[in-house]
Structure formats: structure tokens, C-alpha cells
Symmetry: C2
């Protein structure tokens, strides 16, 4: 079922969204992302990771953030696209391992008209991401533009 | 020349680092990342992007953040690896287009011993990323753990 496209006026503080998927992260995805963007032992090699802070292979926090962006845009369909303006906070609270599944909850924190773009408003969303054991693996608060209804 | 591995004690407020590379982003990289993690028209398709807010294909802000993480870990070599604990702020200030080259400047904002991990300290770094026209494309402030010297 195609989701309804949302405009600025559709977002109100307290409105909640839950991701409908919970993708499972693989060793290959962790290593491929690590090789390209975060080539450190704990993101590259199962053996080298075992002697590191993480005691084993763990996803780059930036891969976790990217997977969570995917869940955000699949869950919250903004008319014309979700245009990110910035991030107020990210906290990585537990390692993400091969085989972990990620699901997200999103809540609208606040909304305001954009000063810079008169046809848009700024929506602030708080996202909590959990693994399959319901442990919080990342908290974040992000701001994006949503178009006003004409 | 291999870089010196840095410990917590090596970081002092005001210390500056500059990226030694300035990778050029391609249409393929923008589209591949978009398909996986941010499947919106402005990150996928040159034609669809032309009618969007960005007036053409632009990189997902999360791809930009990942490329900047690569520059950060290539520039600042922390003993045992750079263990991210969180982000205080990201601001995406200009679109990143195919053919743009990204370089970064990093400055240590503050340091403190970690309360949670007695063998580590927390280093707060501010990163400014520029394109080849010296326009700021992203500002960010991140926190990572660095091990104390034994």
C-alpha cells in the first residue's frame, strides 16, 4: 500500500512513527562499509576485532546511522523528499553485530516555519533504534524540511 | 610514511589536523549509497533530481558524513582505533554534487577523562568540510574515545 505523502502541516509534536521493516545487518555489509568509509580493525576483520574495544566485529556507527536513515525515509514519506538540514545529537549506545536486526521509533519533537525557505517548515524528529533484544543501539535527533501545503 | 598513533594525552584543545586527501565524489557513488540507504529522487536519478529542492543529483547527507569519517580516521590515527561515542551536531550547509572534491579541517575542542571507561578519555573534535571552491559543505562536532598511555 503506497504511503500518504506528508506535508509540514501533517507533523505535530508527539506524533509517532514505527518502522515497518527490521533489516538484519550482515558481516559483508559491515566490512564493505568499513573498507570504504571507516577502515579500522573492528569494522574490517573478525580476528582483529576480537582484540579491540568492541571484542569482535562491530558496525561503524556511520553505517548504523545510514541504515536508520533508510528506515526513517521508508517510514516517513515527505512530499518531494526528506531534506535533511542537520543533526542535533547522535549517541551510539551499544555495538551492532552481524546478525543484529534494527527497528526504529520516531517521534516529532517540534515544528516551526523555516526562516530561510518560506515554502517549507522545519520538523525535528527524535529516533530511537533497537536491536532484536530491544536494547537501544542508537538515539538521534534530526531536523528536516517539509513543504507547506500550497 | 606511517602516522604516529595518538593517545588521549596527545590531544589538547586547539590542536589542528588537515586531511591529506580530497576525494572526488562520483555519480555512481551517490546513486549506490542512495539506493541502499537514502532512496529519494534527488539521490538516485539525475532527471528526477532536476525538479527537486536540490535542482539536480546531490549526495545523501549521510554519504557526505561517511566520506568525512573516512577523512577523519585517515588523518587522526588513534591507538587501537577511533571509537565514536556520539555526535553533538551536524549541519549540511551546501549540496554535494558529482565531481565535487571534499577536504576537511579538524580542531580539538575539549578533552576529559571518561567516567565510564577508566582507561580512556573523551576527545571532542570539530570538523569543517569544504568543496573544491572552498565552500563549507558540512560542519560537525563529534566525540570519540582515545586510550590513556599506560
Amino acid at each position: 500500500m503506497p504511503q500518504k505523502e506528508l506535508y509540514f502541516e501533517d507533523f505535530t509534536p508527539g506524533l509517532k512513527f514505527e518502522s515497518m521493516q527490521s533489516p538484519t545487518i550482515t558481516t559483508q555489509e559491515i566490512q564493505e562499509f568499513g573498507e570504504k568509509y571507516d577502515p579500522q580493525p573492528m569494522h574490517l576483520d573478525v580476528g582483529a576485532g576480537s582484540s579491540s574495544f568492541f571484542k569482535g566485529l562491530a558496525a561503524s556507527g556511520w553505517l548504523t546511522a545510514a541504515i536508520i536513515m533508510r528506515l526513517r525515509v521508508d517510514t516517513i514519506v515527505v512530499a518531494g523528499g526528506m531534506i535533511g538540514v542537520g543533526v542535533d545529537e547522535i549517541r551510539w549506545t551499544a555495538p551492532v553485530r552481524p546478525g543484529d536486526s534494527i527497528r526504529t521509533e520516531h517521534i516529532v519533537v517540534s515544528t516551526r516555519p523555516s526562516k530561510k525557505y518560506s515554502d517549507y517548515g522545519v520538523v525535528k524528529i527524535s529516533t530511537i533504534a533497537y536491536n532484536q533484544r530491544d536494547e537501544v543501539i542508537m538515539r538521534s535527533t534530526v531536523n528536516f524540511l517539509a513543504p507547506k501545503r500550497k
